[in-house]
């Protein structure tokens, strides 16, 4: 892309589109950028290499070489660990730079895991997978700040998620919630916030913008125990929180594909509401025990966090009252606690809510001349109709007509907008 553009420069100068001076300035700009890129590639290969070697060592040692004596096996358990530690220590002392930091960090991360696993194997130490993974993560946590390694941060988030899932989603009822997950996640926050402030446009930040909310979405269910019905509410509030975080100036200024909070928040809200638009789901047991449960307590905290972000947006005049995605979680919370006794009324209200979200998304898309948003709105309405297709006792003819009319709606709205866009381009020209 870049080199193609530079190749075009002489042509542009020749045709007097840009001056010679501008051309040389463009060249200088790209050259200064270029010196950075081979280094990046090295880093990626370094990390991938370490990752594969580390995983390979775990597998080779897991073969369990029973011809070896116990002492030799024990030495082998510590060998990768010590090598990794020496390399990482050397990297810190000699300030070897990003590539070394990332590669040695990754290798050391896996070496720690393999040494604990191998000792457990040699001595037949049983134990929960979750406890093992937790020990492993905690022992590697400081490397995030000592080596300033993004690869270690990614491994940290992925393995923390794995820990929470293996603890909370087990076959047997979990005796405790994976509370450590919150601590582990909080630990990377300073690093993440620092990166957001220093380099909000970097690829790493956009990876974290997706990885962090995804990890929380996957893990939240692991905190539920008996009161599963509150899970619906918790997820709606969580997606509301993500949507509002995604609307904070630092994220909203970014491209949509780099803003995981906004995308997950929006899509998540729609999916949750679609689930709740089925009448059968609103069949909850409503006991007073619910209000003293862990799930209720967590719901309150989540709600408080979402409300805080919403109020911040409002104080900065960034809250668009026309856009219900911002505050749909509040409406849903009110509905949830009233809907416990009025199942049918709640179902109808949720259906209206989804319809409203769809229509307003279509309007936003049309106003902004954005085909993606427009069709996302149409998709929301289609999904709602598909859900009702399986749900109600409506006659086939009416359902058929509904589908045909929405299909025509798709064509018409896109066509009208295309025309408007063309005429807008014409008047501008």
């Amino acid at each position: 892309m870049k080199s193609k553009f530079i190749d075009e420069l002489p042509v542009l100068v020749k045709n007097q589109v840009i001056s010679e001076e501008t051309a040389s300035r463009i060249r200088a700009y790209y050259n200064s950028q270029e010196s950075d890129s081979p280094n990046k590639l090295f880093t990626v290969f370094g990390v991938l290499g370490s990752l594969l070697v580390g995983l390979g060592i775990i597998l080779i040692l897991a073969h369990n070489w029973d011809d070896f004596s116990q002492t030799l096996k024990t030495v082998l358990a510590f060998l990768p660990l010590v090598i990794g530690q020496i390399l990482a220590g050397y990297t810190i002392l000699k300030r070897k730079g990003t590539t070394w930091n990332e590669a040695t960090g990754t290798f050391l991360f896996f070496a720690v895991g393999s040494s604990i696993a191998l000792v457990s194997q040699i001595y037949n130490i049983p134990g929960d997978l979750s406890v093992y993974v937790l020990t492993w993560i905690v022992l590697c946590m400081p490397l995030i700040y000592l080596l300033k390694s993004n690869a270690v941060v990614m491994l940290h988030i992925v393995f923390s998620t794995f820990y929470a899932c293996s603890m909370g989603y087990g076959f047997n009822p979990p005796t405790e919630a994976p509370w450590w997950f919150i601590v582990l996640l909080a630990f990377v926050m300073p690093h993440y916030i620092m990166m957001l402030n220093d380099r909000p446009e970097s690829h790493m930040v956009s990876i974290f913008n997706w990885l962090l909310p995804l990890s929380v979405v996957i893990t939240l269910g692991a905190f539920l125990e008996r009161h599963g019905e509150l899970g619906y509410l918790m997820y709606v509030i969580l997606f509301g929180l993500f949507y509002n975080i995604g609307k904070l100036p630092i994220f909203d200024a970014q491209k949509l594909r780099r803003n995981g909070y906004l995308v997950l928040g929006s899509v998540g809200t729609v999916v949750m509401l679609l689930i709740m638009s089925f009448n059968g789901v609103w069949d909850f047991e409503w006991t007073s025990e619910l209000f003293s449960s862990r799930a209720f307590f967590m719901t309150l905290i989540l709600f408080g966090m979402s409300l805080a972000v919403l109020m911040y947006l409002n104080s900065r005049q960034l809250l668009q009252w026309i856009n219900p995605f911002h505050y749909v979680f509040i409406l849903f919370t009110l509905l949830f606690f009233s809907g416990m006794s009025f199942g049918l009324a709640a179902t109808i209200f949720v259906n209206i809510l989804v319809l409203m979200l769809g229509l307003i998304t279509i309007k936003t898309g049309a106003d902004k001349f954005h085909f993606g948003i427009l069709n996302y709105g149409l998709l929301i309405i289609t999904a709602l109709i598909v859900c009702r297709f399986f749900d109600t006792d409506m006659s086939y003819v009416i359902r058929g007509l509904l589908f045909v009319s929405v299909g025509i709606g798709f064509f018409l709205t896109n066509y009208v907008m295309l025309k408007r866009k063309k005429s807008a381009v014409k008047t501008n020209a």
């Binding site: 073969h63 369990n64 810190i92 393999s114 194997q121 049983p126 005796t175």
Partner: protein
């Protein structure tokens, strides 16, 4: 100058992390060795089956014959600790002396976890903690087959685990079929 001033504290913290990373596996080894050297050896009758662990490799899961005890106490709940005081029967295998909810005042006991309480049969069912025996990946499944075969050939259960017991901890030393270590037995078959 400023750079080296920052490097040294970072490196010192790193050294502390290194020591912690070495300490955890070393402590695991030390704890196990202590039980083996000071504990009492018991033979637990068992039956192996073959699962695997993504990080630690293949192991045989040991189903112990000793997995329940009569109890009139109906307050046992899932996951609660249960302390099993051990004794040896006339054939030299481990047997239950008594169970309790508190730590016994001698050292020959194992801390296990309660699975459930059956009010109908008035028994509490539990899992012994030392139920994973790691084997070479080619032998783990064969071990399960060998146990089933040996079972057919003789009358009584002749597969047992040799476990060292000290103050609640049990260290699984080896598993035997007809008094031969299971890895050797599998090789012979």
């Amino acid at each position: 100058m400023l750079k080296t001033m920052k490097t040294i504290p970072v490196f010192l913290i790193f050294v502390a992390v290194v020591l912690a990373q070495l300490f955890v596996p070393a402590k695991m080894i030390f704890d196990q060795e202590k039980v083996i050297s000071k504990g009492t050896a018991y033979k637990f009758k068992t039956a192996p089956v073959d699962p695997s662990d993504p990080f630690k490799g293949k192991y045989i899961y040991l189903n112990y014959e000793l997995n329940s005890a009569a109890s009139t106490d109906s307050t046992w709940v899932y996951g609660a600790p249960i302390y099993l005081s051990l004794a040896t029967d006339s054939l030299g295998f481990a047997k239950l002396h008594r169970i309790s909810k508190d730590t016994p005042n001698h050292q020959n006991y194992v801390k296990a976890k309660v699975n459930w309480y059956s009010a109908h049969e008035k028994t509490v069912t539990f899992s012994l903690p030392f139920d994973e025996f790691y084997m070479n990946e080619t032998k783990a499944y064969d071990a399960e087959i060998a146990h089933v075969k040996a079972q057919r050939d003789s009358v009584a259960n002749n597969t047992y685990a040799l476990v060292y017991v000290l103050n609640g901890r049990g260290v699984l030393e080896n598993v035997f079929i007809n008094n031969i270590p299971i890895a050797e037995y599998v090789e012979k078959e």
